[in-house]
Symmetry: C2
Amino acid sequence: MPNHRAAALDFLNAQEHVALERLTQLCSIPSVSTDPDHAADMLKAADWIADQFKYIGLDHIQVFPTQRHPIVFGQYCADSIDAPTVLIYGHYDVQPAAPLELWHSDPFTPEIREDRLYARGASDMKGQVVAAIQAVEAVLKTNPLPVNIKFIIEGEEEIGSPSMPQFLREQKQILSSDVCLNPDAGMVSPTTPTISYGLRGLAYFELYVYGPDHDLHSGMFGGVVHNPAHALAELIAGMHDDQQRITLPGFYDSVRTLTPDEHHEFSRLPVSRESYLRQTGAPELWGESDFLPQERVGVRPTLDVNGMISGFTGAGSKTIIPSQAMAKISMRLVPDQQPAEVAQQLRQYLEERAPKTIRWELKDMQGAPASIADRNHPAAQALAKAMEQVWNVPPIYKREGGSIPVVGAMQDILGVESVLTGFGLPDDNIHSPNEKLHLPTWYSGMKALVHFFYNLVEA
Amino acid sequence: MPNHRAAALDFLNAQEHVALERLTQLCSIPSVSTDPDHAADMLKAADWIADQFKYIGLDHIQVFPTQRHPIVFGQYCADSIDAPTVLIYGHYDVQPAAPLELWHSDPFTPEIREDRLYARGASDMKGQVVAAIQAVEAVLKTNPLPVNIKFIIEGEEEIGSPSMPQFLREQKQILSSDVCLNPDAGMVSPTTPTISYGLRGLAYFELYVYGPDHDLHSGMFGGVVHNPAHALAELIAGMHDDQQRITLPGFYDSVRTLTPDEHHEFSRLPVSRESYLRQTGAPELWGESDFLPQERVGVRPTLDVNGMISGFTGAGSKTIIPSQAMAKISMRLVPDQQPAEVAQQLRQYLEERAPKTIRWELKDMQGAPASIADRNHPAAQALAKAMEQVWNVPPIYKREGGSIPVVGAMQDILGVESVLTGFGLPDDNIHSPNEKLHLPTWYSGMKALVHFFYNLVEA
């Protein structure tokens, strides 16, 4: 059906303005899942997606309520009995936009500058969701394709997909599929199509350190009580040794050793000290010196303070010993680390290191293990071919530093493998101010998805 | 003139309700000197004091403008040529009230619970200023006293009295005095009148640590860039060794050694591990183990983080590597440390310890050296006698952990010694939520001041 494929691609090209309009509409909804104040925006975004599903011709459209934010479902059933079924995963929630003062345009008023669209969620992952909608629409509105398509678009990915496991269990029947297409990963460069086959897990905590029962005058009590900000600093500083290794007891015990083959593959990735310095603006790189930078984000676990606060942080000077200090601490996990395991290691570290001069409390926020997908899955091969058809080079395979808990959940609960890809770029500033999406790459990505669907059914 | 003294004391007693009304009015003005938003309140407080000066019968009343907040002056000139002159110092500015949520009543709506008045500034030091006004009024409105009295009440003490040196130089003539009464210190207990003869100095800084030029996705970049929150934590943790000694190079070089006599005197202070634990609510004491707690706040220099912030501190989880981290760091100095000297030591520490993986910036906020007053000054003896006349025990002499830069400035510029006292208590929560003033002790303090004036001229 080459003419069918061509027709779908023509339709896609003719619809670029619609794609942009849809992306603008979706990015205008501040669907910040972690912030209770945005609960109404979450519903608005979910309904908007359900409307698009209806418009492009899906049926059995449902907005499933959860404990927090709804999951949107829609499907297309092919006529033929033996049509393969592709489950397309996405999320409509985004990270908070703070700090607002660093944005050059309003995070929820999408603005195009040069060939990029700037908005929170443009790249992670509203752009990817719209790309999938465009590709499916192009296929459905031109010629019927012997592929069943199911969408689930959730609203809790940025908070660890807490509702997803129960949803997958409850809706196992309607979600049964041959493969999951998950475009929540990204490309390493605009000219390098990328398929991700590994994801790091995540464990997120809040650590509270309590000292005196109220803020104290630092002149009257400086020197007699342990300052909680110092105690927290000491605990954080001790979490890495001078080799930048994490010191939690047993932290690396279950971490797989890197094989020579993997090392060889990592060394071929088109990244370098210079490219990392350019993307981050950091004065120098940091981390375990016996691993390549791309290995440190790919196959090594990491620990980061995501936020830290204590005492008086306003303008001017206040001479106090703060009564408490807090840090948000998260770890990126690799096979075969378990969130519960590292949580216990962190507790043990605190029990061993925390002095009697302070009290501490550790709050477990979220956790998901790492996952590795099958690179040789037929769908992965169909996608690889599709990417080469668009970019004229075969995709590279990488392990993602980020975490997508749903991938593991789908393996465990649905028994469905995920094919991880996406059309965002490393400098898209996702989770950061001035998040952006490179539109030419985005349009190419839609084409690749159309090819992907046809490659699934054409030898 | 014993009947004169008695008349003044009777007048004072009859005016207690006026004293309370004045304190309530002054504490209702949110005169937070460090916050530009309160500039108008600062003027309001200064004018209110000038009005009281007029009412109690002072003349030459002036509100001197400064770079930031005005200084209020007023005086009483005795008839006799050889009358001694007492300069009464005070400040009408207060520390910020934050964190507001920890206050049980509005910090600027004074509320009496049991025998205490709760309000920001009630103890530090609006209550002390009103006490001095009450005592002077009682003396002036009963019988003329052969003592010249001059008041200067400034509005920048809580930000380090930056305008005071220039003011003292410019107004040297009108400020010429025999002694300065400074009631900005406090008592160690309600039954222990206290004269402070030493004050610690202060050096205040903001330390900024910069890493990547924007917040980064901790999954994409965790493990390759140095997290500024970690780097700041490492720098703060390194500022104390495991003996709780400060590690800045040369920090203790100019610190005077404690003499056996001083140690003996400190050991007689009515304070203990238990009293410090009770006042602070800390789980355990902390600090240099080879010094008594009261020595650590009295004669030893200390370093405290007063505030610290980095990254995402809102509700929920955000998985970023923050682009920067900041800490407010202040040191309490003792003789013979100089603020410029410790600032240099901190810079050297940072130059030696800060890694190349981050950038840092140190902002010098304020500084004042420590000072020691003459305990044998005739005015100090007059005050000691006055206190014994009220509390029936002689005062104890202590060195204050806090800092009152103006004391040193008066010694250097005016050549005037200060007698340091005050009627606040260690558990007044000054600089903390729920600051309060113990009213019975406050009324006793006013009486002591009346005795003080009479003791100055009566053998």
